[in-house]
């Protein structure tokens, strides 16, 4: 604000979350058939803290033999007690899991932050509570499925293979496991190789909840482990969240099978600010849209469209707001932007930033001291971005925003839809009639009007076009795990 500093900065002293509550082993095996099972090839990989580069734990590297064992266990559980259990009893197990997550929320939040680099505030206030809510919500569906799809017979699919990404490791595990169990399936889940720990802690919790052996199996590993799940002959359904490129590969490799598939893939969401918008709240929406979780969000509002007559005001406010963001130690309760999840991802983001500059974009980054070690990226905004520029076209999956301007509503609708992706979009306007014109016209599975990046277990989530197919959450999300009479 004023150039002259009349008062000393009142900077926040460090406020690190204590990790004394955390109970982590040095080494984790697979969780198969209710037992901790060492990898058949005796091979482990390490999971590191992206904020410090320090090793946290060793994790089993899953081979096709391990996947085979997990699928066997899942199939046995499906044929056995779980398959025969009434919906009501199944639901009770899910309620139990939800409650246990709530009780151990703090520990899970800390581990999520240690393993993935996200700010503790987000892990604590968003990821973990939402995950618990997902179990709680789906628990109630288990004995009410007949009401979800009237005049249609429903049955579980069998064994679901689930592969989840590193951006919301625990929340994605909940998004996958909760509906699968509520609908009567059993599960083989593979967390991402850089963030396996909370899924393994969830396995502990599931054992504590007394779930029958084999209902939930967790196998850790990288792409090859995932491929072993995808290609396993005794899996009935694959649910994948990740990049569009990998999603396409999966569809291709499943083409000759009748395995059911749902894909939740990439995005390049338009966030549109009209001139009558509540600008200050829109700026919050921009920040929440692109800098939430370091921008590692498939539905991130990574393309900002600002109506020309409010462009100066929006950019002035956005830049000031970016200046107030605190980047650094993810465990500090005041951190807004944590560590980039991996070295590889940091390199990818940096490559895009370079490309943005090369394409003639004007870059702005706040000045902010970064820790010496770890993977960091300042919140970044590019103005003067051409629609054809690579940073306006491709999913960066980092805290990088590409800003374009527009003059009229038809123009912005055309620009916003001019992408192969269709996961999410945002619109800011104080005029209801105009807002609904846009929400109707935008090709996206989730459209936020005067808000952004809101999630709820009752709210179906999923994409149009190359952002994938199938929905997660809500009544509509149940269909992904049911054998329905009509398809």
């Amino acid at each position: 604000m004023p150039k002259k500093k009349s008062a000393p900065d009142w900077n926040y002293a460090p406020a690190p979350e204590s990790s004394s509550q955390v109970n982590l082993a040095k080494r984790y095996d697979h969780f198969i058939g209710g037992k901790w099972t060492p990898p058949s090839n005796q091979s482990y990989f390490t999971s590191t803290n992206p904020a410090t580069g320090k090793k946290i734990a060793e994790v089993a590297d899953g081979s096709p033999t391990d996947v085979e064992a997990a699928v066997k266990a899942a199939r046995a559980a499906y044929k056995g007690s779980w398959g025969k259990m009434s919906g009501r009893e199944r639901g009770k197990y899910l309620y139990r899991i939800a409650r246990l997550i709530q009780e151990r929320a703090r520990e899970f939040a800390i581990i999520e932050t240690l393993d993935g680099g996200k700010p503790i505030r987000e892990a604590r206030d968003i990821d973990i509570p939402l995950a618990a809510n997902h179990f709680f919500y789906h628990a109630g569906w288990a004995d009410k499925l007949d009401y979800a799809f009237p005049n249609q017979k429903t049955a579980p699919l069998g064994v679901a293979g689930q592969i989840i990404p590193w951006n919301f490791p625990f929340l994605m595990a909940a998004w996958k496991i909760a509906p699968a169990l509520a609908t009567g399936n059993t599960v083989v889940l593979k967390p991402a190789e850089t963030t396996p720990l909370t899924a393994l802690k969830l396995a502990e919790l599931i054992a504590d909840a007394g779930l029958p052996d084999g209902v939930v199996n967790i196998v850790t590993g990288a792409g090859e482990t995932g491929a072993a799940i995808v290609n396993h002959g005794d899996i009935d359904k694959i649910a994948f969240t990740g990049s569009t490129a990998v999603g396409k590969l999966i569809q291709k490799s499943l083409a000759h099978t009748e395995k059911r598939l749902t894909l939740e893939l990439g995005g390049k969401a338009a966030n549109i600010i009209l001139d009558d918008a509540p600008i200050d709240q829109a700026v919050e929406g921009i920040v929440n849209g692109i800098y939430f979780n370091q921008g590692h969000v498939c539905c991130a509002g990574s393309r900002l469209f600002v109506q020309e007559n409010v462009f100066d005001e929006v950019m002035w406010k956005l830049k000031r707001r970016m200046d107030s963001l605190i980047v650094g130690d993810p465990l500090d309760k005041n951190t807004d932007i944590g560590a980039i999840n991996s070295k590889a991802q940091l390199k990818t983001i940096q490559r895009y930033i370079k490309a943005g500059i090369k394409d003639g974009g004007e870059i702005y980054q706040p000045s902010c001291d970064l820790p010496a070690k770890g993977n960091w990226c300042l919140p970044t905004v590019f103005t003067n971005v051409a629609q054809s520029s690579i940073i306006a076209q491709e999913e960066i999956f980092g805290p990088v925003l590409a800003v374009q301007t527009f003059r009229t509503v038809p123009e912005v609708i055309e620009k916003a839809n001019n992408t192969p992706y269709g996961l999410s979009a945002g619109v800011w306007s104080d005029k209801g009639a105009r807002l609904f014109q846009l929400t109707k016209s935008l090709q996206a599975g989730v459209v936020w009007g005067n808000t952004f990046n809101q999630f709820d277990p009752t709210s179906p989530f999923g994409g149009f076009k190359e952002s994938g197919y199938g929905r997660e959450g809500g009544l509509h999300g149940l269909a992904a795990y049911l054998n329905l009479e009509f398809s």
Partner: protein, 291 residues
């Protein structure tokens, strides 16, 4: 002297017009007792391309049209079919149906139009949801058409099966290209003539005839088709189509139920995307004076 019968030229139906196949190719499927049914257009890659362009154009006005209006147009299709029922019966017989079966199929086809006409303004109301999110937001999920759909009409049920495949697609506001039964294409072409005189805008339904095996790979890899619907493909055809569909992640929808025998709103939902919209709900400042 016996009158010389005027033979019908069978054409394609693209964007409301009746072009011959751009390729100039034709084939002669055999009907009852091996009698040739006629010279049927053998559609090419370019015919498909043209019909996708027509369907994409038509989509822009069909998708946002009032459901009530769509409903009336579907009803109008039924009216037009009723007037041509004798011709359909005759063609079905030429293609091998018994007279009774032919009459039954035509009647059922007309009724199917009316069945889906009624759903146009009801599926949204029946299957959309308002989602009770735990925050100060109004949140609802509605169905939107997937876009341009290619339908592979079943091989054996040339009229009812085709309509059973296509009607749910257009009921939901999609436009489509339908590949008619390869061996029994006559009704599809006559249907086109009925559609052309109904109120259905040109391009909403485009009808191609030709060789399924030739067209499927072109469909699978076309980047401007949003979904493919089929019910009687072989395992290999399905497998190839799924693999080719990865090009633009077009949805591959292989119906478990025979579309000729299915009357249900669920096939409508199969070619719909679900869009979820969020909006804040304000709370006022409450309090009031104590003095």
């Amino acid at each position: 002297m016996e009158r010389i019968e005027v033979l019908k030229t069978y054409k394609l139906y693209i964007g409301g017009k009746f072009p011959r196949t751009e390729s100039g190719r034709y084939y002669q499927p055999a009907g009852k007792n091996g009698k040739k049914l006629g010279n049927i257009c053998q559609s090419s890659r370019k015919d498909l391309r043209n019909s996708v362009v027509a369907a994409r154009t038509a989509l822009a006005s069909w998708a946002p049209r009032d459901p009530f209006n769509r409903s009336q147009i579907l009803y109008r299709i039924a009216e037009m079919l009723e007037g041509r029922s004798a011709q359909f019966v005759d063609e079905l017989k030429q293609q091998g149906s018994t007279p009774t079966a032919a009459r039954k199929e035509v009647a059922a086809s007309i009724d199917r139009c009316i069945y889906y006409a009624g759903w146009c303004d009801k599926y949204q109301q029946t299957f959309s949801s308002v989602n009770p999110v735990a925050s100060a937001h109004f949140n609802f999920s509605v169905y939107e058409p997937m876009g341009v759909i290619t339908a592979i009409a079943p091989e054996q049920s040339s009229l009812l099966g085709l309509l059973g495949t296509v009607l749910p697609i257009i009921t939901g506001g999609n436009s489509c290209i339908v590949i008619a039964s390869e061996t029994k294409p006559l009704c599809a072409i006559t249907l086109a003539e009925a559609l052309a005189t109904s109120d259905l805008p040109g391009g909403v339904i485009n009808i191609l005839t030709g060789v399924r095996a030739e067209l499927l790979p072109i469909i699978g890899s076309h980047m401007d088709i949003n979904a493919v619907v089929a019910s009687d493909l072989t395992d290999t055809e399905k497998s190839n189509l799924r693999a080719e569909a990865t090009s633009n992640l077009k949805r591959t929808i292989f119906c478990k139920q025979d579309p000729a025998k299915t009357e249900s709103p669920y096939p409508i939902l199969a070619t719909q995307e679900i869009k979820t919209t969020w909006h804040p709900v304000e709370s006022s400042i409450t309090g009031g004076s104590a003095y």
